[in-house]
């Protein structure tokens, strides 16, 4: 897959999410924009999936442990054809399946998440199943950096290496911010690389908003008997200047002025740099 196409998709999806959150009046804006490039790399290039057969037994599994960044996930799943664009419009509406966290009543969602610190344990179970049943699928889970304060993460990190799950790929969306402020202020989550290495994991550190680096990292995980972690250094709110690197955009809805300014900016980039999807 051409990196340029993936970058175009990322821009298109950021615009979509921005509109979705403005229209519905709810969403984890900063978190969505932070991990957009990671989801695009996964869903448009890396994951072995079939939207026409969401429960295909040999599919790769994706469990979004940082469930709150769900608007980008819903947008990507609709764009990939797991469900219709019309259904996507029900996001945040009364009695919808498209709620504010992943919901496995919707095609393409493996497990319900929302409470942080659950995804890695689930992913260990899913990856362990592949080992037990001799399946080749890979299991991916996306975690937040603030989420690393949950003790259950470290129970799962220990088990992943104990069971030699080199078919498990953890990704940390490391934007350095959480709802209250910076990770440093709230709970020191520095030295994640050394922490996971000490738990026996292979660790790569990348620029998590650089499409080439994401794709390279995800396609070059080791099969050496140890689980894999990609620490993706990202910018919270990436792609919308007013929201970039600002903790208050964790769960903030744009004003009309902010919405229109960013939409004009998206259109300019999509029409200029990426006309017809080509750079």
């Amino acid at each position: 897959m051409q990196i340029q196409y993936l970058e175009f998709k990322a821009l298109e999806m950021r615009k979509k999410v921005w509109k979705m959150i403005y229209d519905s009046g709810t969403g984890h804006t900063g978190s969505d924009l932070s991990c957009t490039d990671i989801l695009i790399a996964l869903y448009y290039d890396v994951l072995k999936i079939n939207p026409a057969e969401p429960k295909w037994v040999d599919r790769d599994r994706y469990i979004q442990s940082k469930g709150h960044a769900v608007e980008i996930l819903w947008s990507v799943l609709a764009d990939k054809g797991f469900f219709s664009e019309n259904k996507l419009k029900t996001y945040g509406k009364f009695h919808t399946d498209l709620i504010g966290h992943p919901n496995n009543k919707v095609a393409g969602i493996e497990m319900n998440t929302g409470s942080l610190g659950h995804g890695l344990s689930i992913a260990v179970g899913v990856a362990l199943n592949a080992k037990i049943t001799n399946k080749d699928y890979l299991t991916y889970t996306l975690m937040g950096d603030g989420e690393q304060a949950e003790g259950s993460i470290w129970e799962a990190a220990m088990a992943a290496n104990h069971y030699r799950l080199d078919n498990l790929i953890g990704i940390i969306d490391n934007n350095g911010l959480q709802i209250t402020g910076s990770n440093e202020e709230v709970m020191d989550s520095s030295s994640l690389k050394q922490k996971y290495q000490a738990f026996g994991w292979n660790v790569q550190e990348i620029d998590g908003n650089n499409m080439s680096e994401i794709v390279n990292a995800l396609k070059n995980v080791k099969k050496n008997g140890h689980p894999n972690l990609v620490i993706a250094h990202t910018l919270k709110g990436k792609g919308v200047k007013v929201a970039e690197d600002r903790a208050e955009w964790h769960h903030k809805v744009p004003t009309k002025e902010q919405y229109e300014a960013a939409m004009a900016d998206f259109d300019k980039k999509l029409g200029g740099d990426f006309e017809n999807g080509e750079k």
Binding site: N104, E110, M111, N112, T113, G114, S115, G117, H118, L120, S121, I122, A123, V124, G125, V126, A127, L128, N129, A130, I132, T133, G151, S152, E155, A156, M158, A159, H162
Partner: protein, 314 residues
Amino acid sequence: MEKNKPGRKAGEVMCEVLIEQAQKNKDILVLTSDSRGSASLKPYAEKFPEQIIEVGIAEQNLVGISAGLASSGRRPFAVSPAAFLTMRSIEQVKVDVSYSNTNVKLVGISGGNSYSDLGMSHHSLQDLAITRAIPNLEIFMPCDQFQTRKMFEYLAQSDKPAYIRIGKQVLKDCYDENIEFVPGKANVLKEGKDTAIIGSGETLNIAMEAAEWLEKDGISAKVIDMHTIKPLDDELIDEISQEYQQIFSIEEHSIFGGLGSAVSERVAQGGKAKLKIFGFPDEPAISGKQMEVFDYYGLTGEKIANEIKKILNS
């Protein structure tokens, strides 16, 4: 029914059934949190090393991994002391099992006051209260070896999430091998015309003993085995709460939120009977041998019979 025949521990029977089921079905998995010994599961572990997964002392991870395995089509039994399984990992039970609808069987061993002399940290006298409030979770307590067998045979086939609490005592036989086990359908162990006593799991024997004491004084008590705490047998509760003026429940649980509470919620909807709940008071339980502690809290057949007489005669 052969009364007072020494029976067996629920854990040993669970192990036997899981061995039989694992033999037939490779999807059966047992997960333990450094708890295979206390769970009487060593024979299983020796026979099926490929079908037991040890997660170490990490109850949250135990349930999360089980949910991941279940979502992949396996049939995991997560076996851990009830006190930790239903408290330490309750959010994983709520989100990863109940909400995600994964077919995990949560087996709480050494339940209730089994670890009577180890302090409140090891007592699970709130497990029914907390699991009962979680949707999409069946709750069972077997009372003897025959029911334990039928229950685990059902669990191995069932696609629904469940919590099962067992204790450490040698359970006297209440049934024989012909027992039928229907989830959600309580059994009447003994008929009676004056009142009804509802028990579940290990307290069923106390209910039977109480009924025998009452019989000596000419009081005829029906004894009900409420092996399924959820879904509760509403039909039978409706029946007895119309038939009698006063009914009783006995449980190895806090008097708040357990079997008695479940029954009272139903009775309050239209029954005419009053309900007296026998159980553990709202305090950290004292230490001692299990039967000493039961006696201290008035949970013996004789003491309960005396209380029942007082209430019925008042």
